[in-house]
Subunit: 301 residues, 2 copies
């Protein structure tokens, strides 16, 4: 039994459109409505037939028992303000944003009485953006973190968790501040570093951009994948999860400085010891089903 | 026509064993000899039937017209000293090391008169190590950089280039110092950063190792692949290409500090502009055939 009868999705990018496809595939009969502020996105959503009902935000959420805000963090407050008057008591409201304290601060004040707000975050994605990039199985085998505040109706949390499980995910609940620290290290810092090194490599006077591209198979190309992610989404992540990102970045810079020092002083023992420890983490990620066991991510050779 | 009749490979790890497999597949009839100082590796090479003749280094190179040093950078000098007395005039000698100035300094002085030393570096690999990890198509579509010194016999360079082309590679020639700068940014810096962030993430008091593993699909897992590479090989790379790596690292740290500052000051415009530029590089790498066009590296969903 699907836990909701009518789902409304605000924002039909990679995540929103993947949810729509997942609902179609796994919960037949459930009504799907959506809104997106970009007319080009709306056109694609219509052409792809992703939802039953594409409308303005206030109209899309009417009659929905689950409303999902899947817009970039910087657009959450505006999206919420638009739909708030149309939310009926009993509606479950969630989001997919990568920083939970920010969403709670921006969305929370607009939540009408009787609406159950359960912030959420699926740890899934690709470097592609937009409604054409989504697919129904994006959330399979991935984690979804919910960060409900105290006092929220437990049945609302349970229904939302059930919804994600029906899309193939495993659901975990934690404190919003802790979520933001965890994501700062597992997602935000890696993206920042990837964006940064791609910038460094493309802006050297001693090595040309053409050389960087040609010889990228030595390792660099791996970083370009996540650095190709949506710039709007990621700008907002760094602005909205600033403190946790800066904290993790300080830790990273310390650790990098230690390796730099070992290189400068020819301390091979330190380098070897640190490098060896990394293999265990990779192994654990593969064993946890969070990455492929195939060499080179299974790229074709 | 294969450019060599008998190939000897010193070091049968990922690279050496892939060359052996490639020769078998693409140059039938060419004799293959090999040596490896690790008895466990020798046992696997024998069990896999990778070469015709497995022997001590001095014995393996006897009668070879191409000798390839495929050992870690820190073992190049010793391997060369072992084989030098057995190298016949006219032999082409090359290597696969990731830092060319270091190889030239360590190997060069031992090269007997009449032996043609052409340092080389295939820009190819996976995160796996050892003779079981190799495969015949590893070099297909990849670049090989040769860094011959002035005065080296042109026909020796041409034959070695032909050899690599027959394994599927495209060959480029450049100055050793320039190679070392190019590789510092396209390969060594990415590996150092990947090792560093994996170290940071697995050594936090606020976020557990189990959480890092569970939620690694947010980006972190991408870094763990290259951070699972052979620790001995990479320790040697950083010790042997120290100056170029430190130079690129300084550039990276500056660029990262600029992004850090933009985050601290809420400068979304700078972040957006930098992030947007990265997409073009990713596109160029895909167009150059140096990475897959499939989202998420083509990982299965």
């Amino acid at each position: 039994m699907p836990p909701f009868q009518r789902v409304a999705i605000l924002g039909m990018g990679l995540i929103g459109s993947s949810i729509a496809r997942g609902v179609r595939a796994r919960m037949p009969g459930v009504g799907l409505a959506a809104a997106d502020r970009d007319p080009a996105v709306c056109e694609r959503v219509r052409a792809l037939g992703l939802v039953d009902h594409l409308a303005e935000p206030g109209e899309a959420v009417r009659g929905a028992d689950l409303v999902i805000l899947a817009v970039p963090l910087g657009a959450m407050e505006e999206a919420m303000a638009q739909v708030a008057p149309a939310l009926a008591p009993g509606t479950v409201l969630t989001d997919t944003g990568s920083s939970k304290a920010a969403v709670i601060a921006d969305v929370g004040p607009h939540v009408p009485a009787g609406v159950h707000f359960v912030p959420g975050h699926p740890i899934a994605g690709t470097e592609r953006s937009g409604p054409d990039a989504g697919f129904a199985t994006l959330f399979e085998g991935r984690w979804v973190i919910l960060t409900p505040r105290e006092g929220v109706e437990p049945s609302a949390i349970a229904r939302l968790a059930d919804f994600w499980r029906q899309l193939g995910s495993t659901v975990e609940t934690m404190d919003a501040a802790h979520h933001d620290l965890v994501l700062a290290v597992t997602s935000h810092l890696p993206h920042l570093i990837a964006y940064s090194i791609v910038g460094t490599a493309s802006d050297l006077e001693s090595v040309t951009r053409a050389e960087v591209i040609k010889y990228s198979a030595g390792g660099f190309r791996d970083f370009t994948r996540i650095a190709a992610s949506d710039p709007t989404m990621w700008r907002d992540v760094f602005l909205k999860n600033r403190d946790a990102v800066l904290e993790m970045l300080a830790r990273f810079s310390e650790d990098l400085a230690a390796l730099q020092r070992a290189i400068r002083w020819g301390d091979g023992e330190t380098l070897f010891r640190r490098f060896e420890a990394s293999r265990a983490i990779r192994r654990a990620i593969i064993d946890a089903g969070q990455d492929t066991d195939a060499p080179d991510f299974g790229r074709r050779h």
